[in-house]
Symmetry: C2
Subunit: 206 residues, 2 copies
């Protein structure tokens, strides 16, 4: 990686990777920046600039689907397997735990946590479940790198603190709270459900 990739670029490249996976599955071998642009609703220039963060990757007859997918996989380290855990086994947490998209990815859900011990006992799943107070210990012992927060807002910050205590490297937060974390090496991505509805509300015509 020549240098740190801007976040907007990283976000697009990540989607591009998924697009390439699909094209490859469909048997496509070559694709141009123009076509990728149409698929992704961005200009071909953006596609090319984005890809060029990994140096030359195409030829005068476009990009090879498999080669490009491979370049992205290596460049973005999608080839390394990552262990993840989910804290908060409500409906959202369970939905994520059962998310089928992980199947042929390198993301492995290795543990689920909840503060309600009764809930832990009634759930039936292949994934190991633990009470919330064991987060730091389990995260550390199993070298879990990614954590998902799907707890009520009041518990979100303390959940993050426990994950961080265990040495977590990245967090996906679904609670409507801005997680405070002074360690800049820990990446945090937020998804605020209600905010998305509100943003749409503001965007659409009256």
């Amino acid at each position: 990686m020549k240098q740190s990739i801007p976040l907007p670029v990283l976000e697009r490249l990540s989607i591009l990777y998924t697009v390439l996976e699909r094209l490859e599955k469909e048997g496509r071998t070559a694709v141009s920046s123009a076509e990728l642009g149409r698929i992704m609703n961005v200009t071909p220039h953006t596609i090319r600039k984005d890809i060029n963060y990994f140096g030359q990757a195409g030829s005068e007859s476009g990009y090879s689907v498999s080669t490009l997918r491979n370049t992205l996989e290596k460049g973005l380290r999608f080839d390394v397997s990552r262990k993840a855990c989910i804290v908060g086994l409500g409906r959202m947490g369970l939905a994520l735990m059962n998310f089928s998209g992980f199947k042929d990815s390198n993301i492995r859900i290795e543990a689920g946590f909840d503060s309600n011990i009764n809930r832990l006992e009634t759930l039936k799943t292949d994934i190991e479940l633990y009470p919330a107070y064991e987060i730091p210990e389990v995260v550390k012992r199993k070298s879990i790198e990614l954590g998902v927060i799907t707890v009520p807002p009041e518990a979100a910050q303390q959940t993050a603190d426990k994950l961080i205590q265990g040495g977590i490297k990245g967090i996906i937060n679904f609670a409507p709270v801005i997680i405070q974390c002074d360690n800049p090496a820990i990446a945090i991505r937020n998804f605020y459900v209600l905010e998305e509805f509100r943003i749409l509300s503001a965007l659409i015509q009256i």
Copy 2:
């Protein structure tokens, strides 16, 4: 609204609104851009610039929490109630349908759709459920403005097409697919679960 608000600003303002709701609930009456900046992890300048899209809103002793919340509510039209529907009643769809955050918001989930008729019958919920082929009719009849797509990827585009046919104004898409829509007035927000994990993978140190 003096003019179209840039999307990054809109996204921050939407979060700011949630922050203000919390501060108000906690009994806080005044707050400065410096404090809001700390809470939201942005610079005070950004806070002030963002707020200024609605003209002057503060005084020399900071912002009034309730006044500012009100200004945003009016400016972003969070005060108008919006009807929404969810298509795809798998785990994710059901989790969103039961999301408690809608309670004191102006978002009303007015319908759920699924292509599996059996599933519709076994689900027990207060929200009206319909088979997927009725999407255009129901959306039109009930004047539903917002649609959530939580169907498998193969069905995502045709689901979007049906919503659009019914006159939907905004879409939140959870399927790992880039929805094609030639009407620029229809707003689309995507949330790609696996992408979020992959972005974290790329962001964190090896």
